[in-house]
Amino acid sequence: MMYSYYPGCTLKTKAQDLERFALISAQVLGIELAEQQDWQCCGAVYPLAEDEIAGKLSAVRSLAAAHSKGEKLITLCAACHHVIKRVNADMYSNEFVRKRVNNYLQLPKNYNGEAKVLHYLELLRDDVGFSKLAEQVRMPLTGRKIGAYYGCLLLRPSNVMNFDDAENPSILEDFITALGATAVKYPFRTECCGGYLTVNDQEANEMAANIINSAIGLEVEEILTACPLCKYNLEKELGTNTKVRIVYFTELLAEALAIK
């Protein structure tokens, strides 16, 4: 099946691993991801103010492009996914935003939130199926204790993101299990890593520390993430501590498919 694919800036620079492993895994799994032409930066954060329109335009360009091709739009970075998914919801149900954005963009056809946005993980769960994925695993990660780290942006607010149960999610654990590893649910797996706060406050990041300690407390060896910013914050907090490794979910996917 053919999909439109939105990579995002960070994936082309500091988080190349997240993308590289995703793309080679997709090939093995028979998923055709076509990178969108002329995609633009999503803006990294969803503009929360009612009167901010400009910050939503680039997301709409990608959404409209995918829709015009009749393809689902696949995202990989948690932040990009959050922005695009929420803007899409605005275009679908917020008359004020829809009108202004369409007036500004003057697309060949007005866009009204029709496109379907899927995160790569949702694609694996809903379109491929984790049981099908498990069948494709060549090198099961047997015995490895892996803790999923969800962070904020994929889950919340759940009425828009519709990704999983915001308080008790399971998609990443199901993914880990499909790869043959042992999924460890630790209490802080859906807490915030501190996000962009590093810009405002360079002092110790107790939010990231709580997550790491919670995972180490249950003997997690690898923490799985879908977000470059989470990975950065957690690794920065980890420093030289080698008890646990922060890893992109796509890296483990490629490893289990024996193509890393």
């Binding site: 990294a44 954060v45 405002n200 939010m207 470059p228 950065y232």
Partner: protein
């Protein structure tokens, strides 16, 4: 410290602005404190989220403008997710931040600050987010 406070009426326009750009009805809050109790950044806050709403209800915007809390909100949406009164607290706090940084010269994070915080692993996402959240 000022002990006796008189509910100010000269901040109505700012209050109205916050209401408008957040789209939040602060009168829906029953002060249950669920937002504050779940806030992962509360350790960095001098005023807790439920107190911010209470101060807004009382018209005490000045106290909020001078707090650390609004700059230490990570927009993680836990408060919004769990609020039993359907108040989008994340949007409300964003609106307060914008009320300040949209004023000339009030940006919290400027291009000159970048060299001081950047390291070779920092994803672009951080800087873009920083400028979106703290700069206009």
């Amino acid at each position: 410290m000022i002990r006796v406070k008189i509910t100010p009426n000269n901040k109505q326009s700012q209050l109205q602005y916050i209401r408008e750009i957040s789209g939040v009805n602060i009168n829906k809050c029953i002060q249950c404190t669920k937002c504050s109790a779940g806030c992962p950044a509360s350790a960095r806050m001098d005023i807790l989220p439920h107190e911010i709403i209470r101060l807004l209800q009382l018209g005490q915007v000045e106290k909020i403008f001078h707090s650390k809390s609004i700059w230490n909100c990570a927009s993680c949406f836990v408060c919004t997710e769990r609020c039993p009164r359907n108040i989008d607290i994340a949007r409300l706090i964003e609106a307060i931040r914008l009320t300040i940084i949209r004023q000339p010269g009030k940006s919290k994070f400027k291009p000159d600050d970048v060299p001081g915080i950047i390291d070779d692993k920092m994803p672009q996402q951080v800087l873009v987010s920083g400028f979106r959240k703290y700069n206009r």
